[in-house]
Symmetry: C2
Subunit: 202 residues, 2 copies
Amino acid sequence: MPVVDARTEELIKETAMRIFFVEGRLHATTQVIAKEAGVNRGLIYYYFQSRDQLFEAVFKEASMVTRGRLRDLLLSNGKSFQEKIGEFVELTIDHGMKYPYLEMFLVTEMNRDGSTLLIPLEDDTRKELLRNLGKALNDEIAKGTVPKMSPEQFLINVLSLCTYPTLYKPILQQMANIDTPRYLKMMEERKTLVMKVLFRGY
Amino acid sequence: MPVVDARTEELIKETAMRIFFVEGRLHATTQVIAKEAGVNRGLIYYYFQSRDQLFEAVFKEASMVTRGRLRDLLLSNGKSFQEKIGEFVELTIDHGMKYPYLEMFLVTEMNRDGSTLLIPLEDDTRKELLRNLGKALNDEIAKGTVPKMSPEQFLINVLSLCTYPTLYKPILQQMANIDTPRYLKMMEERKTLVMKVLFRGY
DNA sequence: TATTTATTTAGCAATTTTGTCAAACAAAGA
DNA sequence: TCTTTGTTTGACAAAATTGCTAAATAAATA
């Protein structure tokens, strides 16, 4: 039997994700990651070749989840616009509570010299998605449930209201002296609150 | 004449702030900071004793500005609530455009082992500030301009809508293919848009 | 000008970190 | 059992980084 579990590669990746996305320790070294995963540091190089490639693997997985959720929102049909946004809000807040520092990791990694990690969407795909969203949004604007704005701004509003609070958790907790249970309760409340802010008369 | 400008200490601090808050290179070393400031690396230690203390100085300055703005919002009087929030939104968006990564730096630094950088507000001060805000907010809720919510949630909404978009700049730019001039224009538009989202019938 | 103080520089030591490698070990198959 | 393949380990070299110091330089002052 090998000393370390056969799913070593996954173990390393998941430990790295926990350290980065859950605990927000973006400075973590291969030493730290290996230790917390309970494996020899050399295995990181055996499976990922380099520190950067481990980061890249983790980054890819994280951005795929985020992008997938956005995709589902923008393409799904059979539901009303408000229903779709409602689901998206719920998923995004839940995901944010699970991985509060994920977006911060993405942004920080993108800022590393010579990073080409985030592949931009195809031009037609992007335009189609935004047209799609814009149409549904205009209906709401016509109904008076949403103030006049571009689909981009609406998207920024949704993402801001859902994602920022999770990022801000440590600051809120320290500055406003909010403990974790109360913070979690607030995030649950936000699910409907955000909808009320986005849609008048929700 | 000294080889380096007499205001070396300020120069170092401002360069560090630019690298951290404007360019988002949170992993910058003393080497990099000194080089970009055009000074000898030893001067960082001459003026700041250690890397950590430079970080601390920068952190303190940044959190004081943010906290000061919040304080002004919560204590100022002679203006209507909506006017006060309007000013705060404008200041916060402007500040965020100038220093997009400031909050990320704060969060990252707070997550470093053994960080005691952020001093929590005094308990009475905090309660008074929130009571103050809560009162004005309840008037708005009674008028029907704001949906029912706690002052904490309202504050989170304001901060989210203003601050998160600046943090998200690189992601938005890459994913949605928005160039910088257009991005800046969007942020200007947000100043009134955020108010419309916060207050029905603004 | 001469002396003292403050600032700057270059270089060194200590530590941390990444990345490599050969040897040890385990599992699977011949 | 012997061999082959894949996995794990510890040791080591190379690079990066921090922090320190003694000497050089500039500025301030007597």
